[in-house]
């Protein structure tokens, strides 16, 4: 078919070598990434009092998220106040930006929880609206 052209231009070697190089490169990067958090934990462990403080700092952040989302109706009510100017239908990205602007804790988790609890419902064409308007 044209195999002689491929051979004449050293195509087989280029293709095989190139494929191996890119696989090896990304595999190495994946391996390093997969171990990176463990290496960082080792460094953190060496500075153990500081590491414990960091762990404790993380724990309140997680519990704030859980507390914030414990009552979805209140969250929905508050979010509606933040977003009255968006009208009855809006994109989730717009809602996300508004929540971020208003320093709402964990806007992404908030929107997800509101969706899962049915407070935010799709209203067609990629737009969403509130199930109940407060």
């Amino acid at each position: 078919m044209g195999f002689h052209l491929i051979t004449a231009n050293n195509g087989w070697a280029m293709a095989l070598t190139g494929a191996i190089i890119v696989m090896l490169g990304l595999s190495s990067l994946a391996l390093i990434i997969s171990q990176l958090h463990r290496v960082l934990l080792l460094f953190e462990a060496k500075k153990s009092p500081r590491a414990n403080e960091t762990a404790q700092d993380d724990a309140p952040a997680v519990s704030i998220a859980l507390d914030w989302l414990a009552d979805p109706d209140s969250v929905a009510r508050l979010c509606q106040v933040f977003t009255t100017h968006l009208g009855g239908a809006f994109k989730l990205t717009t809602l996300y930006k508004e929540l971020e602007r208003m320093d709402c804790p964990h806007p992404h988790l908030t929107i997800r929880a509101l969706r899962e609890n049915g407070q935010l419902l799709p209203s067609g064409e990629g737009l969403f609206g509130w199930q109940v308007t407060y």
Binding site: M1, G2, F3, L5, I6, N9, N10, G11, W12, M14, A15, L16, T17, G18, A19, I21, V22, M23, L24, G25, L26, S27, S28, L29, A30, L31, I32, I33, S34, L36, H37, L40
Partner: protein, 376 residues
């Protein structure tokens, strides 16, 4: 009367021939597809308009055309031929990319690597069809599904093919919703498409996000130094984003800078696509090979995922392999939607974004590898 006649003979009406008219119609079609149908408007709109402008006939020798020295278009085109615009676009892309999905799911990076096999298969196909090695590499990189990378490599290796390669690359990126789903359905069973991916991935710390661009640029550019012009700015953009200390620079890179480069890149690539280069059998071969490249890239990612599943206890949904192409976020969205059609509770988007992000890095590495093979 003579003056009027002389004036008329110098207008575009008198200088036009059928090839220019066909190309202007092609440009108008691209403008319609972008503005009317919303197909990849960020690129197809300036490209389409550029095709129209670049094919308006004029009298040569007065510094008007894109290939005439000292013309405005020629100066703007310098950013394409020198590879400046693709580098700037990659800076902006890095500043917009969130690698947390990829860092939380590193094994999905292998699917990004596997999807680059489309590039090498197309390289062989292009050589078999009579393209020179430089031309074959320029055509093959279309399989990476990355417009700036395609333009960058073609500008270095086969500048006369920039027009058809760029248009093929961006056209196929716009056609991902048509090209990928049939390949995905053909290569996977219903049972495989229903595989749910775990949602309990570990939280990626800020330190990891900050260290990753440094590790990435050092490792990838040591491996393929020819990818420095693309991956250097890419990881710089990402580092600016995640460091949190230069938010202004990161925002500028991800907005004004990339938008400016995108406008000039698209417009001048379109203007450079003249009838004598575009309306040839070579362009038709490039378009055909581009379709093959996209399909093979999609298929190789899916097949590699199935191979990985032979060795994994926790199976990967093979659809994710299709997201290994570099078309962010179009192919990730298609994977998610195909999975949703089978099971509306199956959310693959974040997993697919991990493969997509890896594909961006993979296609840039492939461009560097091909350039280094063919450098003289």
């Amino acid at each position: 009367m003579e003056m009027a006649l002389g004036f008329f003979q110098n207008t575009g009406f008198a200088l036009a021939d059928w090839r220019y008219i066909v190309m202007i119609c092609v440009g108008i079609l691209f403008c319609y597809l972008s503005a009317g149908k919303n197909y990849e408007p960020l690129l197809l709109l300036p490209i389409g308009f550029g095709i129209v402008v670049g094919n308006l006939p004029f009298f040569k020798g007065f510094g008007l055309g894109i290939y005439e020295a000292n013309s405005v278009l020629h100066y703007l085109y310098f950013g394409v031929t020198s590879g400046v615009y693709p580098s700037i676009v990659f800076l902006g892309l890095g500043a917009m990319t969130d690698f947390s999905s990829m860092l939380a799911r590193p094994k999905l990076m292998l699917l990004g690597a596997a999807a680059q096999m489309g590039i090498y298969f197309t390289l062989l196909s292009a050589m078999a069809l009579g393209f020179t090695p430089n031309e074959a590499a320029s055509v093959a990189i279309i399989g990476g599904a990355d417009g700036p990378t395609s333009i960058f490599l073609t500008a270095k290796l086969a500048p006369h093919l920039i027009g058809p390669v760029a248009i093929a690359a961006y056209s196929y990126m716009a056609l991902i919703p048509i090209i990928q789903p049939p390949v995905m359905r053909l290569l996977t069973t219903k049972k495989e498409r229903l595989i749910r991916m775990p949602d309990n991935e570990r939280h990626v710390s800020r330190k990891e996000l900050v260290i990753f661009p440094l590790v990435g640029v050092v490792l990838c550019c040591l491996l393929a130094p020819a990818s420095i012009p693309l991956l250097g700015p890419f990881f710089l953009g990402n580092f600016m984003k995640v460091s949190g200390v230069v938010d202004r620079l990161a925002k500028t890179a991800s907005s004004a800078v990339i938008d400016t480069a995108t406008i000039f890149l698209g417009f001048t690539v379109g203007a450079s696509t003249q009838a004598d280069v575009f309306l040839t059998p070579t362009s038709l071969k490039i378009f055909l090979l581009g379709a093959v490249a996209f399909s093979i890239a999609t298929g190789s990612g899916i097949i590699f995922a199935k191979v990985m599943n032979l060795f994994l206890k926790e199976k990967i949904n093979p659809l994710l392999g299709a997201a290994g192409v570099s078309a962010v976020p179009g192919s990730a969205r298609e994977v998610h939607m195909v999975a949703q059609k089978e099971d509306s509770g199956n959310y693959l988007l974040m997993h697919a974004m991990a493969c997509n992000a890896s594909g961006v890095i993979g296609s840039a590495i492939c461009a560097g590898i091909l350039w280094s093979f063919l450098m003289k």
